[in-house]
């Protein structure tokens, strides 16, 4: 039995190692992103040469100047791939992490933009990830733009979204719009269309998202989970049934 999260992890790992995309030598993973983090660990445990900078490891954080160092690295072009999500994502790959209704989110307030307004433009590749795939998340037009998917000519930017991975499917982004790439088990073009607020291109044949291989599954449940336990105990417990019920040294 393959968990839905394991499907998503495998789908993201395939995007990371896509030979058609610019190389991913240094990947950073930001706040509360267990599925992208697991995908990065899977890529590394599969033997790909990649440097992972995981910001939220409680111990062994790779930086000695916190997130300031991450943003300085990205500013120089030394981070090849980053992950972003959004409370709303629209058909031009604009991200809204501020909220809905009037600024600053009088209807529904989201956490805030984090580093998205910078990372999206400084990183050659961004994989967008949002597990909830519904018309309230994937909208025709975001209420507010935290980070733009496309920039005006002359505005410095190294890249944009490579793809958008959701709980239902994988979309590729071509710099103007999304194209449906693969459907997770149980989904159809019609079910995805009904759950998506923006228009997207549909090729003649849409394959099913490839599940992780037996070898990848064994890695996920073993070596990858080992690396994830300290940072994402709740995730490891709910997906793999491993980990403690609370932190070791509670008060």
């Amino acid at each position: 039995m393959i968990a839905p999260q394991e499907m998503l992890i495998a789908a993201i790992a395939r995007l990371i190692t896509d030979p058609a995309a610019p190389p991913a030598r240094h990947i950073a993973v930001g706040a509360a992103s267990p599925i992208p983090a697991a995908a990065c660990w899977l890529v590394k445990k599969l033997g790909h040469e990649v440097r992972l900078s995981l910001l939220h490891r409680p111990q062994g954080n790779p930086f000695t100047e916190g997130t300031r160092e991450l943003f300085d690295l990205a500013g120089q072009g030394r981070i090849d791939l980053f992950f972003l999500g959004g409370g709303q994502i629209d058909g031009q790959a604009n991200l809204n992490l501020v909220g809905t209704g009037e600024w600053p989110g009088t209807s529904v307030r989201f956490p805030g933009s984090f580093g998205s307004a910078f990372m999206y433009m400084m990183t050659p590749r961004t994989i967008l990830f949002r597990e909830e795939h519904s018309p309230r998340v994937l909208v025709a037009r975001v209420d507010h733009v935290s980070a733009p998917g496309v920039s005006a000519p002359g505005v410095f930017r190294r890249g944009t979204a490579q793809a958008l991975v959701t709980g239902r499917c994988v979309f590729a982004f071509d710099g103007a719009g999304f194209r449906l790439c693969s459907l997770h088990p149980g989904e159809t073009v019609e079910s995805v269309r009904a759950a998506t607020g923006f228009d997207f291109a549909v090729p003649d044949a849409v394959p099913e998202t490839s599940p992780p291989s037996a070898f990848e599954l064994a890695l996920l449940r073993g070596a990858v989970c080992d690396e994830m336990l300290a940072t994402y105990p709740q995730f490891c417990r709910s997906v793999w049934g491993r980990g403690e019920t609370s932190t070791r040294k509670s008060a």
Partner: protein, 272 residues
Amino acid sequence: MRVLHIDELAALVPDGALLALPPDNSLSPAALVRALVRRGVRGLRLLGVPVSGYVTDLLIGAGCVAEVQTSAVTLGEAGTAPRFVAAVAAGTISVIDATCPAIHTMLQAAEKGVPFMPLRGVLGSDLVAHRPDWMVIDNPFAGGGDPILLVPALSPDVAAFHAVCADRDGNVYVGRRRELATLAHASRRSLVTVERMVEGSLLEDERMAPGTINATYVEAVAVAPRGAWPIGLLDDYALDAAHFAEYARAARTEAGFRGYLERYVLEREPAL
């Protein structure tokens, strides 16, 4: 530099101060914030460096906050910051949205004593339109056609954080969290709680000196054992995830939050 009781440290934060706080993974001063709530501080303007967590939500819920400038407010794996979201919905605080590197850059400008610094990216984000204090210019070195963002220097009135230890000179050890040095350099004064005092000088130990903030920037120190709890502190202790979940649950409602304050904040420091 003075070594004070934590309540005396809290008394040094005036009502209405621009108070800079690190996020939950970077030496957050939870015990000092509980002391601030007990002292009944009002009208604080908080700065998340560069994002905000548990202590910001606590101060907002306790009615201590007029304004928050931050790149995000989150409880991490425990989810949404409930009192922040409720205050935005009720319109009881004003929110100045930023993006992480802009906050770092504004502090770096203050650290250097220059009035502003440029920052790549951000153009095309609605943040720019909502930040009248930010400006877009044409890069004067490029000969035209290269718009770039300028952000002004920002000097917090007070920076507060919880470090591992301090020596008698007032040097404080923050280990690998050296972004706090930039915060201390940029702020008018830093108030620091520590797990313990140590003998000798941290700056005369080659292994400790690189992770030490010079006493020049430190106004006062108070000893607060487990002073980051329920947040973790480097490799000393981990974040108390069960308590975070309890907070996130309780703070969903105003009544639940009041109960939490009474249990863990208002009487005295919880026995840790």
